[in-house]
């Protein structure tokens, strides 16, 4: 096996042209997924079965199936239904970008809501009781006592999911999107040089992961600066 360095130098800039799309997929899905996760969390811990039961089913389905299957169902499956194509959602579902963001958001939303629930459950009972003793309402206790601590507790696990989401964006290339992975696959199909191209791509993803890790590390430190000596 010969390693074609010229090819690598040639293809890295081409693949980087897709980094914008990778970031769009990542940040949009992360934002939508987090919003969804908070809604799911509130439903889950509401204590009302008709709110928590659908949430559990939802989380079970989206954690229990491969994200590639979810992407294919949304991209290829939904348009098979006539009423979807006639609906107001079609302009979004027609575009592969819309389908990818939808699938990634729904998927990450399920995971993140469980991560957040872990954070909420980790908050010491005593603190909440203290809040109640001070006369804070349940809502105020949740917003001012539970949430800040829960977020701090959930952050390490969330950073994990964020990295996982970043890698999942590569699956968008299976539905025609030319993100970094999509461009890499096109180059491989043209040059028959999978080692060079995919290894260079792996290095790019590793660099992105390192940046994300460092950012979350900084965030964690900042959020727990009150406990540092």
């Amino acid at each position: 096996m010969s390693f074609d360095l010229a090819l690598i130098l040639d293809s890295i800039p081409k693949m980087l042209m897709g980094i914008g799309l990778t970031f769009q997929l990542l940040f949009l899905s992360a934002a939508l997924g987090l919003t969804l996760a908070v809604i799911l969390l509130l439903m889950r811990i509401s204590g009302r079965w008709y709110l928590s039961a659908p949430t559990m089913v939802y989380i079970y389905i989206f954690r229990g199936t491969p994200i590639l299957v979810q992407i294919f169902i949304i991209y290829y499956g939904l348009p098979q239904l006539e009423f979807i194509r006639d609906s107001i959602f079609w302009p979004i579902l027609r575009e592969p970008f819309g389908c990818a963001v939808l699938a990634l958001s729904l998927n990450t939303g399920a995971y993140v809501s469980e991560i957040l629930r872990g954070g909420v459950l980790g908050v010491d009972r005593g603190l909440k009781e203290a809040g109640a003793a001070l006369g804070l309402s349940a809502r105020d206790r949740f917003i001012h006592i539970t949430s800040p601590i829960a977020i701090r507790l959930a952050l390490p696990a969330y950073s994990n999911d964020f990295i996982s989401l970043m890698k999942s964006t590569a699956l968008a290339s299976t539905i025609t999107l030319l993100d970094m992975m999509g461009i890499a696959r096109t180059i491989v199909a043209e040059t028959y040089a999978p080692y060079e191209i995919f290894i260079s791509l792996a290095v790019i993803y590793l660099i992105l992961t390192w940046i994300i890790q460092r950012s979350f590390g900084w965030l964690e430190k900042r959020m727990s600066r009150h406990v540092r000596q």
């Binding site: 290829y76 194509r85 592969p96 299976t174 025609t176 030319l178 999509g182 696959r185 199909a189």
Partner: protein, 271 residues
């Protein structure tokens, strides 16, 4: 004793006549996969059938040779030809430079072309009367292509500004055409017909371009393969193929399976 001698001579004569037939026809052994419908396959009766088989029979009847079909797996096709297991490959084998290094080919009896498929009566008017694409009319038209295919190279060269979407398989190509994510696709017309246009899903769709047969992108086509150094046989094959082209036989063979011809209807030899 004399009687015995006569008997002996007669016996030898009979035996000899069995061995040395003065007008014995030449036999050409033809290699093919026998599993590649609709080009070479076994029909319900168990007989070999298909476009390649018809071409082989047509050629044989013109050059006056007997045929013997040999079923051979694709990956061993060229080695078997070179090892003299058969004399000709008539198995939908495309003429390529790397194959020409090892073997010879006749003129193509089937051409490699690309063709666009789109919605019926969409009147997109993408090509002029000469068969050249009209770039302006591709504005706003979403084109589905297979990643890194010959059709993709053709589009990049001829219509670099077209709005192209790349797919990994021809199945997803057809799916997204039906789903309305693309307006036209470019692919092999035979595949498009067999897998899509002739099916229920493809009912509302049709070819929206002429056959595009630019050799630079799509190759020369499919020819009869033979060992090098058989120029006399090659010439006879080419004459036979010209006859089959001119008398419309190749068209007839194709129309059994496709509603269009799959050979070059004007005999134009290539070198």
């Amino acid at each position: 004793m004399k009687k015995l001698l006569t008997l002996f001579v007669a016996a030898v004569a009979i035996l000899a006549s069995g061995v040395i037939q003065p007008v014995k026809a030449e036999t050409l052994r033809v290699g093919m996969e026998c599993t590649y419908a609709p080009f070479n396959f076994r029909n319900e009766a168990g007989d070999l059938d298909g476009y390649d088989v018809d071409v082989a029979k047509g050629v044989a009847s013109i050059i006056g040779a007997e045929l013997e079909f040999v079923c051979q797996k694709w990956d061993g096709m060229i080695p078997a030809l070179l090892a003299n297991k058969f004399d000709l490959i008539i198995a939908s084998m495309s003429i390529t430079d790397s194959r020409l290094e090892k073997m010879d080919f006749s003129q193509p009896y089937r051409i490699s072309v690309g063709r666009l498929v789109g919605k019926k009566s969409a009147d997109m008017n993408l090509f002029d009367d000469m068969g050249a694409p009209i770039a302006a009319n591709f504005d706003g038209v979403k084109v589905g292509l297979e990643r890194a295919s010959t059709y993709a190279s053709w589009f990049e060269a001829k219509l670099p500004d077209a709005d192209v979407i790349y797919y990994d398989s021809s199945e997803s190509l057809y799916l997204d055409l039906v789903n309305g994510r693309t307006d036209v696709i470019m692919t092999n017309p035979m595949k498009a017909f067999l897998k899509f246009l002739s099916k229920d899903d493809g009912a509302g769709y049709e070819f929206v371009s002429p056959q595009i047969d630019e050799r630079k992108y799509f190759g020369i086509g499919v020819g009869i393969g033979l060992r090098k150094g058989n120029d006399a046989l090659k010439d006879r094959l080419n004459i036979a193929l010209k006859t089959l082209t001119d008398d419309g036989s190749l068209g007839t063979y194709a129309h059994k399976y496709f509603p269009f011809a799959i050979h070059n209807e004007q005999w134009t030899p290539v070198e």
